[in-house]
């Protein structure tokens, strides 16, 4: 019997463990153990005032607080039956651009690239390729700067509310970001070129991709939920098609399609389903780098993130150029009892919220399905497919390849409920 044990799977958000049991060259069990402690958000949201919800749900994840704020405000606005103004909607998209840029730059360079470049961390990478890491930090900073200009700070910004924003951010600090964003757009295009040269492990899987789709823009907020199977539903019908279940080894819930199959959310799903809505420079970057869709290798999520990085820089520049706020920054709320669902695309995939509220604007019920809960069964199924390859590798290499696969999903384990402990047990002959 052979056992590989790594104390921690690093460079992911949160804590969990991976168990791979094999016997006679076959997989006995694959388990992604999540021991991130449960924090019971959906429990303590009950009886809170609805305007507190975007501030509280932001604390589910420090990397994608904007996604939590946005999914909750859309769900609550649907419950109240109000629609925000086009100006508010554009500013929401701009804030989301900031989060996509910040999160993608972090993941591409600081979390995943070290796997492809044979380094334990970006800090080690900085010792051999300081320019790569300096550029990465600069790319990330520009995204954070957008969020800060709108929301006061990049982690848990304070300006978004149900109905819009507490106030319009000043135009001048936003416009002042333009030269840096122009630099970022160029650097993101270089990132796409670089992304296709990296040595990704081979692993083609016939995924079911699920993402938000919007006919007029790259799907991030509002629209329909599309699947690569052709299944199209409204956001309100999400829970009819995608079912959340609890499994014993995990403090995170697991989602499946109604047919009981795992599915994939995140940048690969978005790019494959929504590439037609990419802005021109992102389209061109993809063409110039000869990227052929669909991409069916989760390791190549990095390429999808790079293409999206171009898109979101491009969109941020356009939105800031057009920024000239008029009228009230938020719609005044009239409370009534109701129920509403909202979904937006967090950097790591579809994030669904549903709330019931009473006539005083108090939350009666909350349901939150984060992207990582949806991807967990998919990650387990991928590892199973990877096992024949792992068996041909030495332990160090096998461990790294499996860890890398988990990281390529950009799992946010605090969201899904936490440190991945990787343990590959070879129970018998390999």
């Amino acid at each position: 019997m052979k056992t590989i044990e790594v104390p921690a799977l690093a460079r992911v958000e949160g804590e969990g463990g991976l168990y791979i049991g094999m016997q006679d060259g076959k997989t006995v069990e694959v388990r992604l153990d999540i021991y991130e402690p449960p924090r019971f958000f959906e429990g303590f949201l009950v009886d809170r005032y609805l305007q507190e919800v975007p501030d509280i749900t932001a604390r589910i994840c420090g990397i994608c607080p904007v996604a939590y704020q946005m999914s909750s405000v859309y769900a609550l606005e649907n419950a109240l039956g109000i629609k925000v103004t086009p100006e508010v909607r554009r500013l929401r998209r701009l804030m989301y651009c900031g989060e996509m840029i910040e999160s993608h730059a972090l993941h591409i360079y600081l979390l995943q690239a070290p796997d492809l470049l044979g380094q334990p961390s970006a800090l080690d990478l900085a010792a051999v390729a300081p320019e790569v890491v300096r550029n990465a930090l600069r790319l990330k900073k520009a995204g954070n700067a957008i969020i800060k200009a709108i929301g006061g700070r990049s982690v848990h910004p304070v300006n978004a509310c149900v109905g819009g924003f507490y106030r319009w951010p000043d135009a001048q600090p936003l416009k002042a970001l333009l030269p840096e964003l122009e630099w970022g757009l160029e650097a993101a295009r270089e990132c796409v070129k670089w992304s296709v040269t990296l040595p990704y492990p081979e692993l083609e899987i016939d995924y079911e991709f699920v993402a938000l789709h919007h006919p007029d823009e790259y799907g991030v907020i509002e629209g329909e939920i599309w699947s690569s199977t052709g299944h199209k539903i409204s956001i309100a019908d999400y829970e009819k098609s995608y079912i959340e279940q609890q499994v014993r080894h995990s403090n995170a819930l697991h989602s499946h399609t109604k047919a009981g199959k795992p599915y994939l959310v995140g940048p690969l799903a978005r790019l494959n389903l929504n590439h037609e809505q990419l802005l021109p420079k992102a389209q061109k970057a993809m063409k110039d780098a000869r990227i052929k869709l669909p991409l069916r290798n989760t390791y190549k999520s990095l390429i999808a993130r790079a293409v999206e990085l171009v898109h979101f820089y491009e969109e941020a520049i356009a939105l800031i150029n057009a920024y000239a706020p008029e009228g009230p920054a938020h719609t005044e709320l009239q409370f009534k009892a109701g129920e509403g669902a909202g979904a937006t695309e967090a950097p790591r995939g579809l994030l669904y919220h549903r709330y019931k509220i009473d006539e005083h604007g108090r939350v009666q019920f909350a349901k939150i399905t984060p992207p990582t809960a949806q991807n967990l069964p998919r990650i387990e199924a991928d590892i199973e497919k990877l096992v024949p390859k792992l068996l041909k590798m030495n332990h160090e290499q096998a461990t790294l390849t499996a860890e890398h696969l988990v990281r390529s999903y950009d799992p946010c384990i605090s969201c899904a409920t936490h440190f991945l402990k990787l343990k590959i047990e070879n129970v018998g002959h390999a």
């Binding site: 921690a8 009950v46 961390s121 990330k140 982690v155 848990h156 300006n159 609890q246």
Partner: protein, 271 residues
């Protein structure tokens, strides 16, 4: 508190995560202009979110994000204390139990039933508690999230063998310094600014809304006077208590003030 090494090697830094959102650790990675310099000045020996490399302790300084919410964490924090010369609580989860300490005001098992179909699979404590409830903490950095420059200042102070320079004044004074019009006076918006630890730069009043206290209670706050000020401003009964019973709601001063606010609110309704 100083980090002056007895030998010429760099001080060893460890960053730990307990129950939290990762936002305070991320604040370190968000020091984009200072991160590489920081990595040059200290030996980042344990930081799972950033690197696979784990160098063995003991460490000179441990930054701990998150609160203690599981039996495992209650054991692990003791081990962390043993391996770190200086232990710094990083953020409001670590200093006051965080938003997940809302369970302390109800029964955690009632909350678990609302979220999980099989709560019996879970391992959790009835309360979410700050690190100081379990071990001696050398320094508290408040914030949800922490201000990244405060973290840089703490590390710099440790390296330079001096006391870290923390803002001594509450959010209310930061507003005055920023020239922000008072949201209580001008709009009648409930705000915790007078009793909250400064350090964020008074972001919420700057956005036209009341401070919701994520930097925790200031040591000089007059909570009785705050409750008297907030009660008449309530849009609905219990609004002031909700504001206090939030991200730092389990901090003793906020805990007590929220109870007072509930009482005051009930008295107002009775009239």
């Amino acid at each position: 508190m100083t980090l002056t090494p007895k030998h010429h090697s760099k001080p060893k830094l460890a960053v730990y995560k307990f129950s939290s959102c990762d936002g305070c650790q991320l604040s370190i990675l968000n020091l984009e202009d200072e991160l590489l310099e920081l990595a040059g000045a200290v030996d980042i020996s344990y930081f799972i979110e950033a690197t696979r490399t784990v160098k063995p302790g003991p460490y000179d300084v441990g930054l701990v994000e998150g609160s203690v919410t599981t039996p495992h964490e209650a054991e692990r924090i003791k081990q962390v204390r043993n391996e770190c010369k200086y232990l710094v609580a990083l953020g409001t989860c670590a200093t006051a139990g965080g938003i997940q300490a809302l369970r302390n005001f109800t029964k955690a098992s009632d909350l678990a039933v609302k979220v999980y179909p099989h709560p019996e699979y879970l391992h959790y404590l009835e309360t979410s508690t700050p690190l100081s409830a379990h071990v001696t903490v050398d320094l508290d950095i408040w914030g949800c999230p922490v201000n990244k420059y405060t973290v840089a200042e703490v590390i710099a102070a440790l390296l330079q063998n001096r006391r870290p320079n923390f803002p001594p004044s509450p959010v209310c004074l930061e507003c005055k310094r920023n020239g922000t019009v008072c949201v209580v006076v001008a709009q009648g918006t409930p705000c915790l600014g007078p009793v909250v630890h400064g350090g964020c730069g008074a972001l919420c009043p700057g956005s036209g809304r009341g401070c919701y206290g994520c930097f925790g209670p200031s040591s000089q706050g007059n909570f009785n006077s705050l409750v008297k000020m907030l009660t008449p401003l309530e849009h609905f009964p219990g609004e002031a208590a909700l504001l206090l019973r939030n991200f730092a709601g389990y901090a003793p001063a906020f805990h007590k003030a929220a109870d007072e606010a509930l009482k005051a609110s009930a008295e107002k309704e009775a009239k």
